[in-house]
Symmetry: C2
Subunit: 301 residues, 2 copies
DNA sequence: GCACGATTGTGAATCCAATTCATATATTTC
DNA sequence: GAAATATATGAATTGGATTCACAATCGTGC
């Protein structure tokens, strides 16, 4: 039995129009076409869907059952078409974000909150699980945007710069290093270093300082949550290096000291990687604008 | 945008099979056909429904939205097809009954109760509204069975005899006529006659007795409900003639007397009119069997 | 009851769109 | 890098849906 939407549309039209001939007008076809079509359909299902004893033909009991299905299905289709049109016009879409940098939650969340209000139709999500191969995931359209500080040369991917940050040293005010104005690589040799649980080539402190200086901290401890890292640092169980926007909460706290890394000033840049074809979409452009301006504002507060 | 079920089926198959080639097997077609079809579909909606960057192609964000609709719609269609199959095999169907005779509720209800249990899938209903043109309604398939005691010669309609009944006189035991053993036409001349509110040619007392005898009762009062008629008769506000099966409730009641009409015994036969093509359907045959036997049993109780 | 208008059915011809076949291209895997 | 797997493409073909012209039927008004 090969029912098709055409059949449902015809059925509904005949019902609405109250007859074949008028239905043909609605559907922009001929009365004959519908007659053939209905005959074929009735052949398919093996029974009469219409009663022809009275002249404008009417639905039979079986036809009414089919009509009920038509009236559940066709609006569903119409809705989908509407959705597609909205998708094309750019009012709606999907913004699933992968974050490579653990600490990015901190500024991303407020930014997404703002975004959500401006684009309520866009399906928003943050995916933390795929820190590793987030770029392949981007290309596969499993996600639509990747927050990263390590731009790569990838065909089909645009790296949109967001803002700069400084990986910043944070320690307990009781820690001996609190006495120094600038923290250098050698200072880590007798410290316990607390980091996020990711590979070293994704950790600023290593890529920007320790690896090159060939310095190994006394110990390294991996901790998932930023709040827990700060807690451990506060009780002098170790030191950490975090983006400065994360530090702002403890800057004014007497238990902590924050110090720049040195000798030179270390600046890193955060990027939002998008697929080329998406970069121009209105909501995407808006998100990128928010992602450039809002975190900077947040930090000034 | 001309979406068709074919597109939804293809989409679902590709998702299930995890690729074009395997989907082609499921749908009993070639990989090429699906490739062309998908290309055409994407042309229609104006965007890519699949991501081809990785090799077994996967749904894009837009494709997933369409898939969701597919998964709501396709089971709906499958359900309808199942319903059609059941309709064909005769397990299910519709039995909307029109009753010309007001009093038929009394035996029809218990019969329908029995029927409902045997054929739970059949859509049962009683329609009282169209006493007049119930035969045209039968031919238009607005109803599927008409209870009538006036068989007509109608092409396409079968009149299945159900059972015989006797229009029976009922009056208060205080009524003078209670003294007579048999009630004849002349006896009505000085009585108030209570009937259902229908035309005289549908009322047994007129068609079988008074019309021919040219007797006019002192007054006629039309009452809708059988219970009310009996109440009025009980308080001697009038007399009535009702089918004997209705009388059985008051037969043993000392307030009422019931008497045969005469001089000859008057017997009427009730028929169930069906469309020719329906008469053989299993559930219809079953209903007719019940309609022949059950009312007789009820009356013996 | 007849005639006219409206409505549906039918068959042949036509058209168009979907499929097939053969093959090219691209990706993954080992 | 070769083999295997997966998708795309283009031309040819097919078959189902539509059109056209007309027949058949029904409903209505006079």
């Amino acid at each position: 039995m090969y029912l098709e939407l055409r059949h449902f549309r015809t059925l509904r039209a005949i019902q609405q129009a109250g007859g074949l001939a008028r239905a043909a007008d609605i559907l922009n076809t001929t009365q004959s076409a519908l007659s053939h079509q209905v005959a074929g359909l009735e052949d398919q299902v093996g029974m009469e869907l219409f009663v022809r004893r009275s002249k404008p033909m009417r639905l039979s009991a079986a036809g009414i059952r089919m009509l009920r299905v038509a009236e559940r299905i066709l609006p569903e289709i119409a809705g989908l078409e509407e959705e597609f049109r909205a998708l094309l016009s750019g009012k709606t879409g999907r913004l699933h974000i992968a974050i490579q940098c653990h600490a990015c939650f901190d500024w991303l969340f407020p930014v997404l909150e703002m975004f959500r209000h401006a684009w309520p139709e866009v399906d928003v999500d943050i995916r933390a699980g795929l820190a590793f191969d987030s770029f392949p995931a981007l290309l596969r359209e499993e996600v639509d945007l990747v927050i990263s500080s390590n731009p790569e040369l990838l065909p089909g991917v645009t790296f949109n710069p967001l803002f700069d940050y400084h990986p910043t040293f944070v320690a307990s005010s009781k820690n001996p290093l609190a006495a120094k104005a600038v923290i250098e690589a050698e200072d880590f040799r007798d410290q316990v270093l607390i980091t996020y649980p990711v590979a070293r080539d994704k950790l600023d402190i290593f890529t920007e300082l320790l690896t090159e200086a060939r310095v190994e901290p006394r110990a390294q401890r991996a901790v998932e949550l930023t709040a827990v890292i700060l807690m451990l640092v506060g009780s002098d169980r170790g030191v950490a290096v975090l983006p400065d926007w994360v530090i702002r909460d403890v800057k004014s706290n007497a238990d902590y000291v924050t110090r720049p890394l040195g000798p030179g000033v270390i600046t890193k840049r955060l990027f939002a990687a998008t697929r080329d074809e998406d970069a121009a979409r209105p909501f995407m452009a808006h998100f990128l604008r928010l992602g450039r301006s809002e975190p900077v504002k947040l930090q000034r507060e």
